[in-house]
Amino acid sequence: MLSLKKISKEFVKSKTLLDELNLELSLGKSYALVGSSGSGKSTLLNIISGLERADKGEVIFDGQDISNFSDSAMSNFRLLNIGIVFQFFNFLPSLTLLENISLPAQIALNKNSKTKALNLAKKLKIKNVVNKYPFQVSGGELQRAAIARALINDPKLLLADEPTGNLDRSSSEQVMSLLNSITKEIELTTFIVSHDIELAKDCDFVLELFDGKVKRN
């Protein structure tokens, strides 16, 4: 479904972060990427999502090279195909959770955005807090809402950047359990960046980023 071919990225001049990296992701499988701090995990995730551009290499998504997409085309592609869950939630503080969750669907001109958002909120057990603002709910609830937002447009690929990095152990386990059950239910490809090996073990594949290259463990 997704293949990265010879992806290179320099962090600063002379320091290579990703070095002719190759990676293949299959449909419906879950992948965990681990690695030390500063190894380039988040950069790789940003390149996959199109938020950052690689210096060299190709990103092929369903046979289509998305690495050369224009900014606007990339936004549109991301909107319909990729959902992202961030470590720091990244909600718009001016919107309620429901509005935040439904926003990508609204951008995609989906008329049932609200119903869909409510269904997802029910599934992720946050229906009782959807009308609250981000600052009024707990971290665990926020991350579940972030997952709901990432899933609202039925993406083919879900990217998660340290989704439990900002949560306690109990909340982390709850969030990961929900994430795994939902992604399996809808046959979604998930790519999770995490430094927590225990959480990574629940994924189908655990990958390690080392010296700018991905190794499968």
Partner: protein, 823 residues
């Protein structure tokens, strides 16, 4: 304190260095407000200096002035009184001086008894120079006299050219000529009448007693005034003028506070985590508050330093407007330049501290409230705020209605109350702004949601979450644009009324008038020879004299005019009958005289009584005048001394020819000649110059409103980074972000414009129907400059839209991923 200074160096300084752009915006915003204030303050100083220099400089304390046209016999009787220390005769005339190129220039001429009295700056320690002034045919001129004279000066006196030797020049900001009284009497051939007499009262004599003694000697026909009564009118004008300027400078300061408040709250909000960390590290909340306070004061002082050159530069422009307005409306002053002065420096620095304090109050309060674990956003909109905004709304409505009702109370209608009520009115409207902003934001979301679904949602949410800061922007714009709109209605109404009035009251083809400076309007006359020439000229269909004399009315001198009502066009506001006297509207308002009242006035020891028959429209002076029919006038006053002539020609094409004939035939006579068009254009030119200060106020208002918008969106550039990054991450493209921001701007602009319209309308109502009546005493037709309002609103929306796009455009090509990692 050492701890705080350590923090200032090790934390604040580094924070500000890292946030250089924010700091530059903060400093500039405050500097602009202070600079506008400073420029107005300097202009105000210049205006006051101009007024003071035009006051009766030569009249001393414990001196009473008796006038006018006092007979020589009365002068001698006054001299004999035992209560008076000195009795000094005075003469004043407007005369033409002839330049070396032949052009004429009108100046004021004063005559004193230089032999017996020492008149401040006129007297000389140098006896030779003092004696030289007493020589026949000599005079003294002020150093600012702008003619190219060195040794002598040629004056037109009684239709003859007289050359006077200049004995010396004296320092003064005004232009004038001084003569010894003997020289004057000989030149003007006036021996039996003295223009007025200054009487210095002995130290042990009460001034009121002395006044009564003088009245016993001279009778009721003369006016006796002390120094303060003489300048009363000018003092009132000065006060009004200063109030006008102070009103605007206070508003500019208010806007400076709003701008700093906006930034200060933003800076503190952006550091909420830092503050939490510092508290967690053991710093007390009190120390945090002191730190915030010192930071703001330092910002304020830097702004003050920046404001000084900007303000001084701005003042060079505003002074020009101020000088023009004073010269046109109030009194002749020579253009003077402004100076910063220690007083202004001190005021600006003190104000910068005050503005810093007021601007940072909320932030200091917040510093006390913040908890280390707190991670909420400041000023978040929730139900609690909705209630607070409702309270603001009710207070606003109450203040607006209260001020408007209070203005209707007539006996409280004076300048101070009026300005206070204006402030309350403005405050009322500003308090309503947050509610209107929420309403419009909600309506925009509702009506446009089908076409622009999430754009309106984002715009509405951004406005709501930032409701106080968004409201401050709206308030700043409403304050400045409202002023602009209000003033524009006043100017348009005034101009339209004057144009209509001029068209009605100037039907003659040629107008000939006696020269006069603003200080004295009726001490020179048209020669009867000119009148006779015109009456016998074949080109002339008719010639009507216009008379004007000063008469005593209620201890004041007022102008009494005499002209033919059957021939002149006069616009009556109220008409009862053609008998008796007609009074101008300002006269009626100032002296509270109505139709049917009996006017009692004195002229040359005689008492006259006339019943008021009508009130007429008159915009030529704010002092007001009485008018009586020509025939009646000629019974009371001298027939051969008209102040002006209205000439009707058989063939209008002969206007210029006749004008040239008069100028060449009577080149040594004192008169000014204008055709109908020149007279009207001249009057409108004076009008426009009078309103130059108002135009300056309008420019400043626009300038301030743009500064507010620019300030808001420049901060948005920094603040929007994260929002744009999130939107991009969830698949929103650049254009969608642009549209959302435009919607936010549209809502803010529409609210600002609508509220500015409301404030402008209410202000215009107060200016046209209340302030105008208090200041000038005349009523004007309400005229609405629709096009100007619409164009301004349109241009404002364009400007704010372009400005609002800056944050999105500036962030477009930035690597946004790092903002996604910031909390």
């Amino acid at each position: 304190m050492k701890e705080i200074f350590n923090l200032l160096y090790n934390y604040s300084f580094k924070f500000y260095r890292a946030n250089f752009l924010k700091i530059v915006i903060a400093i500039f915003s405050m500097a602009i407000g202070l600079a506008v204030f400073l420029s107005i303050k300097i202009s105000n100083d210049v205006a006051v200096r101009g007024f003071e220099s035009s006051f009766e400089n030569f009249i001393k304390e414990r001196t009473l002035r008796v006038g006018s046209n006092v007979t020589h016999d009365l002068f001698l009787k006054l001299k004999q009184s035992k209560y008076f220390k000195l009795v000094n005769p005075r003469y004043e005339k407007d005369v033409f001086a002839i330049k070396t190129n032949g052009d004429k220039k009108l100046f004021r001429l004063y005559a004193y008894d230089l032999l017996s009295e020492k008149v401040n700056s006129v007297s000389h320690k140098d006896k030779k120079k003092q004696n030289a002034l007493l020589q026949p045919g000599t005079c003294l001129i002020s150093s600012t006299f702008d003619l190219d004279f060195t040794d002598s000066i040629s004056l037109i006196i009684n239709s003859k050219i007289r050359k006077l030797k200049i004995s010396n020049k004296i320092e003064s900001e005004n232009s004038f000529i001084i003569l010894d009284i003997a020289n004057y009497q000989e030149l003007f051939e006036e021996f039996n009448q003295i223009d007025y007499i200054d009487i210095e009262i002995k130290k042990n004599i009460n001034l009121n007693f002395a006044k009564k003694e003088i009245e016993k000697i001279v009778g009721k026909a003369y006016v006796v005034n002390d120094k303060y009564e003489l300048v009363k009118h000018k003092l009132q004008l000065t006060k009004s003028f200063r109030l006008n300027l102070q009103f605007l400078s206070t508003i500019s300061l208010f806007i400076a506070i709003l701008l700093l408040y906006n930034l200060s709250t933003y800076l503190i909000v952006s550091r909420r985590k830092d503050i939490g960390t510092l508290i967690a590290l053991g710093l007390s909340k009190k120390k945090i508050a002191i730190l915030v306070l010192i930071e703001n004061i330092v910002l304020g002082l830097i702004s003050a330093i920046l404001a000084l050159p900007i303000g001084f530069l701005l003042s060079s422009f505003s002074i020009r407007f101020v000088n023009t307005t004073i010269n046109s409306l109030y009194t002749y002053t020579l253009p003077t330049s402004g100076s910063l002065g220690y007083e202004n420096l001190l005021i600006v620095f003190l104000l910068s501290i005050l503005v810093s304090l007021l601007g940072s109050l909320e932030s200091i309060f917040y510093s006390f409230k913040v908890e280390p674990y707190e991670n909420i956003r400041f000023f978040t909109y929730n139900l609690k705020y909705k209630k607070k905004i409702s309270i603001f709304f009710y207070i606003g409505v109450f203040l607006t209605l209260f001020s408007l009702s209070f203005m209707q109370v007539k006996y409280l209608n004076n300048n101070i109350w009026m300005f206070l009520m204006l402030f309350i009115l403005i405050l009322g409207i500003l308090f309503i702004c947050p509610s209107v902003l929420l309403l419009i934001s909600h309506l925009c979301k509702k009506f446009f949601s089908k076409i622009f679904s999430y754009h309106t949602l984002l715009a509405d949410a951004e406005i709501k979450i930032n409701i106080f800061r968004s409201s401050i922007v709206v308030m700043g714009v409403v304050l400045s644009l409202g002023m602009f709109f209000g003033l524009s209605v006043m100017i348009t109404s005034f101009r339209t009324t004057v144009v209509t009035w001029l068209n009605k009251v100037t039907p003659a083809d040629l107008y000939i008038s006696a020269p006069s400076t603003r200080e004295n309007k009726n001490d020179s006359y048209i020669s009867i020879q000119i009148f006779n020439f015109l009456e016998n000229n074949k080109k002339v269909k008719a010639v009507y004299p216009i008379y004007e004399s000063k008469v005593k009315f209620k201890d004041n001198f007022v102008n009494l005019q005499g002209f033919s009502f059957s021939q002149s066009s006069i616009n009556f506001l109220n008409y009862s009958n053609s008998n008796g006297a007609f009074i101008s509207e300002p006269f009626s308002n100032k002296h509270n005289v109505k139709i049917g009242d009996v006017l009692t006035f004195y002229y040359q020891s005689k008492k006259y009584e006339e019943k008021v028959g009508a009130i007429f429209q008159d915009y030529s002076s704010e002092e007001g005048s009485i008018a009586i029919d020509l025939k009646k006038y000629e019974q009371i006053f001298l027939k051969d001394k008209p102040r002006g002539l209205a000439v009707y020609l058989k063939d209008k094409s002969n206007t210029n020819v006749l004008s040239q004939i008069l100028k060449s035939e009577y080149s040594t006579y004192n008169f000014k000649i204008k055709n109908n068009k020149e007279l009207r254009n001249g009057a409108l030119k004076v009008f426009d110059e009078t309103f130059k200060i108002t135009y300056a106020m309008q420019i400043i208002s626009i300038f301030l409103s743009l500064a507010v918008v620019l300030n808001y969106f420049l901060i948005m550039y920094i603040e929007k980074r994260r929002q744009l990054a999130i939107l991009k991450a969830i698949g929103c493209d650049f254009r969608s972000s642009l549209v959302s921001t435009l919607f936010e701007c549209f809502t803010l602009s529409i609210t600002s414009i609508l509220m500015s319209f409301l404030l402008g309308f209410l202000l215009s109502y107060v200016l046209v129907f209340h302030v105008n009546k208090i200041f000038f005493g005349w009523s004007i037709e309400y005229n609405f400059p629709f096009k100007l309002w619409l164009y301004t609103a349109f241009l404002f929306i364009i400007f704010s839209s372009i400005t609002s796009l800056l944050p999105v455009l500036k962030n477009r090509n930035k690597n946004i991923t790092r903002y996604l990692r910031n909390v």
